[in-house]
Amino acid sequence: MVFAMVTSLIANSLDEKVSPIIIDSVEVVVVVVVVVVVGGVGVGEGASECNAPARKGALTLAEDQDDRSTDGELMMIYKSLYFHCMAN
């Protein structure tokens, strides 16, 4: 749940088409949790540097994956690459 919400937040904040994001207390809690999870790296710091390579990497790795759950794997690979990038 945390991953999904944060992934969504990150993606929204980085897309070319800017959409208004209403930050309520629940989202603030989620961001705080993730800051702890990734070892103190803030979501804003390096997020733009990690998003594009994580997307490119995920597409490269998942391009010929199994057709039973391709997109589910794509999302998981993206998250792994993104958090790895953010933590390094």
């Binding site: 790795l61 039973r68 759950s69 794997e73 999302m75 998981m76 993206y78 690459l81 958090f83």
Partner: protein
């Protein structure tokens, strides 16, 4: 009289074979997954050269050149089966290559098969942050006569999805399941090439003393395959945009 004797013998063997394949037949199969060498070579010789981001090349190199295999298990008992990766992914795991290889091998998904009720399910608790249980549809296999010996069992090659997925199954073990949700072949899958990885059966125990416990996955939102695809597609569009 001779004909009657022959009929009795044939009936006996048919009965034994049927009993063997349908009831009180259980087993545990261990698999190990490694990066498919053909895919690795394709990456090194073609795809790597097209990537400009050096950090990304470093990351992908780690994944493709990873030599550590991932262990997984298939349990089956009386027409039901369950496949899962042995070690779960932890969020703080530092070895990225191992983590990606685990995702390729099935990640934390649970694959359930039931030949009696024709109920085949996948439980996915990671892709979108909530546990979803959805139908695992049968994908048509193309059988071939090509054969080889795997772990002492004569195995035959089958392919699906225009040859993208290759399975080697043995009719000697009459179980229609295999790793990572694959099913529908006339025998146990001992080797499976899917995506970037290969599953190899490393140990097969038939009719173990302690019968394996196969339980239908619960504690998740039941959705159809179409609903699951919609949910995943929505999450995917948030990250990758439309059209990917």
């Amino acid at each position: 009289m001779k004909l009657l004797k022959l009929c009795v013998i044939v009936a006996f063997f048919l009965n034994v074979t049927f009993s063997f394949s349908q009831t009180n037949f259980s087993g545990i199969v261990n698999y190990e997954t490694s990066i498919n060498e053909r895919k690795m070579s394709d990456y090194v010789n073609v795809k790597r050269k097209k990537i400009k981001n050096k950090q990304l090349i470093k990351t992908l190199d780690k994944v493709f050149l990873n030599t550590k295999s991932i262990k997984s298990t298939l349990l089956f008992s009386n027409g039901e089966g369950l496949f899962h990766v042995d070690d779960k992914i932890s969020i703080d795991e530092k070895d990225l290559a191992e983590k990606i290889n685990r995702i390729f091998s099935g990640g934390s998904k649970i694959y359930y098969y039931n030949d009696s009720t024709k109920n085949y399910l996948i439980k996915d608790c990671e892709s979108v942050g909530e546990c979803l249980i959805y139908d695992n549809t049968l994908l048509e296999w193309e059988l071939t006569q090509e054969s080889k010996i795997i772990n002492g069992y004569t195995s035959y090659k089958a392919t699906r999805s225009k040859g993208k997925v290759i399975a080697w199954y043995t009719p000697v073990i009459p179980v229609n399941f295999g790793p990572k949700g694959e099913f529908g072949l006339p025998g146990l899958i001992l080797e499976l090439e899917v995506g970037k990885v290969i599953f190899n059966a490393t140990k097969i125990v038939l009719n173990p003393k302690k019968q394996p416990k196969v339980e239908k996955p619960t504690n998740g939102k039941l959705v159809s395959k179409e609903e699951y695809n919609k949910i995943i597609q929505k999450a995917k569009e948030n990250v990758f945009g439309k059209g990917n």
